[in-house]
Amino acid sequence: MAKKILLIDDDPDLVETVSIILKSKKYEVIAAYGGIEGLEKAKKENPDLIVLDVMMPDKDGYTVCKELKADPELSRIPVLLLTAVVSHIPTTRYTQQMGMETEADDYIDKPVEPGVLVERIEALLAKQ
């Protein structure tokens, strides 16, 4: 059975592009175009993994992540945070800067090489 991935990003072009990558690997993709919509869909669709953008106007990725992890029904879903920090260094600076702790399961800078994105998603799903 195809794994279900919820993709939350306010940029429709990015959602479309990332969907193409994921669908090419036979994942089922559900799109949400904002933090609030993303949380609703997470509850309704019960996805296997969430790809979450950080910078969103209605509710940012950190807040969404926090709420997901605080919800006992949803906290088991791995969250891959799409950050806007370009750097090869594994970093938690962004969270420090935001003054927030997030329990995202992995971070990835966008834009991302399709191969790398798929690799990281597979790794997270394999942990389950």
Binding site: L14, T17, H88, I89, P114
Partner: protein
């Protein structure tokens, strides 16, 4: 010279007057005479500064010689008076000498005796004039100094910058109204007080304290920014320097305070603007690159080889723009003082090792042999882990970029007298002498046929330098064209610890 010398003979006896005049004028001196005291005084007054020596008879009708002597003293204390006593008594001669006469001659005297006496008196007169001249000189230069002092005082008082000068014992010996205004402490309260009791900014207190320490503490001068005011919206730049004697003893310290609030405001506006623009640019370009990646990977259908080539070039360009944006964001962060905020004890060894491990693959693509030697694995410094990693990522990726295939890159870390010293050396194309001094400038890129193909923003090394600066370190570069380049960074172990409090 001799013609100018005037001798006044005051004697009631014409023979004496004429005799003296005759003897003395033979030697070229000009002689004037007076037959009594009043006349004598009158002649002195009517020839001011002209008469040098007076021959004065003590026994005269009318005003006595003694009285004349007194009057002469009142007119000019430097006039040399030789008293002539007809009926020489030791008592009257001594009295005259007490009153300031230079010498006495008893009548009768020989012409030679007279000449000798006058000559000696003239010498004395000359010496006195010389001494007078020197004294006046000194007085006038003292006056100059006094004027200079008041000039400097006026300048210091009118300055917009604050000045605080401390003695070696810490008391404030000079200050100005601007200092009081900037520090919100009345000037009157500063002057004469111990700096430590003036309710100054704690960081400023610490700096002044350090600057007053012994010279062997190696302390030279420091510039720091102070935030004051109730809303912490006033920024001062304080430059404190010790004042040392020739022998190296600390004699005091001078602090100059400058209000840089408006500069800070401008800087913040600029940084905010850059950050805003960069963020706004970043999102669409990131999306474009993502779209290009998908097409290049043929996830949206097949493309021809030529299309693929064009798209890969396009992606390299978007990558270049994204790198530039990242650097601009870093610069605006550094300028806003936000880049190096999270100092913690870190192992430089571990951070460098992490970066080297991560970049080894990149080096291997170019068959570059990259090695890391360290003899300071156990030493920690207080630093911002991510920005320190940024330094080495930058230097090593530069080294890979500019080193031809088959080259070598060496990274060395050692503990040297209170510093952690790191060198990043490569066997790359090197840097021309004329470029060396500018490579840390913002947007400076070395232009040559060899660098044309290499994409860069010209911001990397300026960011590296800013991060090193923020850790109170130093960075230097040595290079030989065609042979290679070595960057050397020194992090002070203690200063980074202090900077972290």
């Amino acid at each position: 010279m001799a013609e100018q010398v005037k001798i006044l003979v005051i004697d009631d006896e014409a023979i004496m007057r004429d005799g003296c005049a005759r003897i003395l004028s033979r030697d070229g001196w000009s002689v004037i005479t007076a037959e009594n005291g009043e006349q004598g005084l009158q002649k002195i007054r009517s020839h001011p500064e002209e008469i040098d020596v007076i021959l004065l008879d003590l026994m005269m009708p009318g005003m006595s010689g003694m009285e004349v002597l007194d009057r002469i003293r009142e007119i000019d204390t430097n006039l040399q008076v030789i008293v002539i006593t007809g009926y020489a008594t030791v008592e009257s001669a001594v009295e005259a000498m007490k009153k300031g006469a230079y010498d006495f001659t008893a009548k009768p005297f020989t012409p030679d005796q007279l000449r000798l006496g006058v000559m000696r008196a003239l010498e004395k007169r000359l010496l006195q004039k010389e001494a007078d001249f020197l004294r006046r000189e000194r007085e006038s230069s003292l006056r100059d100094i006094a004027t200079e002092k008041s000039k400097i005082k006026t300048i210091i008082n009118c300055m917009g910058d604050g000045v605080i000068v401390c003695d070696s014992d810490g008391s404030i010996v000079l200050t100005n109204p601007a200092a009081g205004l900037l520090l919100a402490v009345p000037e009157s309260q500063l002057l004469g007080s111990l700096y430590s009791e003036c309710n100054l900014h704690p960081e400023l207190l610490m700096t002044i304290e350090k600057s007053l320490q012994n010279a062997d503490s190696g302390y030279t001068s420091i510039s720091q920014e102070l935030t004051i005011g109730e809303d912490a919206n006033i920024y001062l730049r304080a430059h404190t320097a010790p004042v040392r004697s020739d022998t190296g003893e600390t004699m005091g310290s001078v602090t100059v305070l400058q209000d840089i609030s408006y500069l800070k405001e401008l800087d913040k506006m600029k940084s905010d603007f850059i950050a805003m623009v960069a963020h706004e640019l970043r999102a669409p370009i990131a999306t474009i690159e993502q779209q290009l990646s998908v097409i290049i990977n043929k996830m949206a259908g097949d493309i021809t080889e030529t299309q693929g080539q064009l798209l890969r070039r396009a992606k390299e360009r978007t990558r270049g723009v994204l790198d530039l944006i990242k650097d601009l964001l870093d610069i605006s962060k550094i300028e806003a003082g936000k880049m190096v905020q999270y100092k913690e004890p870190i192992s430089l060894h571990e951070v460098i090792k992490g970066v080297v491990d991560m970049m080894t693959a990149e080096a291997q693509v170019k068959k570059i042999n990259m090695q890391f030697f360290s003899s300071a694995a156990a030493v920690n410094i207080n630093a911002d882990r991510n920005s320190i990693a940024g330094i080495f990522t930058n230097l090593i990726s530069n080294a890979i970029k500019f080193t031809p295939e088959g080259g070598r890159i060496l990274i060395n870390l050692e503990d040297v007298d209170g510093f952690l010293k790191t060198c990043v050396s490569d066997t790359g194309i090197g840097i021309k002498k004329e470029d060396l001094c500018r490579i840390f400038d913002k947007f400076y890129r070395v232009k040559s046929s060899e660098t044309r193909q290499i994409i860069g923003t010209g911001l990397g090394l300026s960011i590296v330098k800013s991060i090193v600066d923020a850790h109170l370190g130093t960075i230097s570069v040595e290079s030989e064209e065609g042979r290679g380049t070595t960057f050397t960074i020194l992090f002070p172990k203690e200063a980074t610890a202090a900077g972290c409090k």
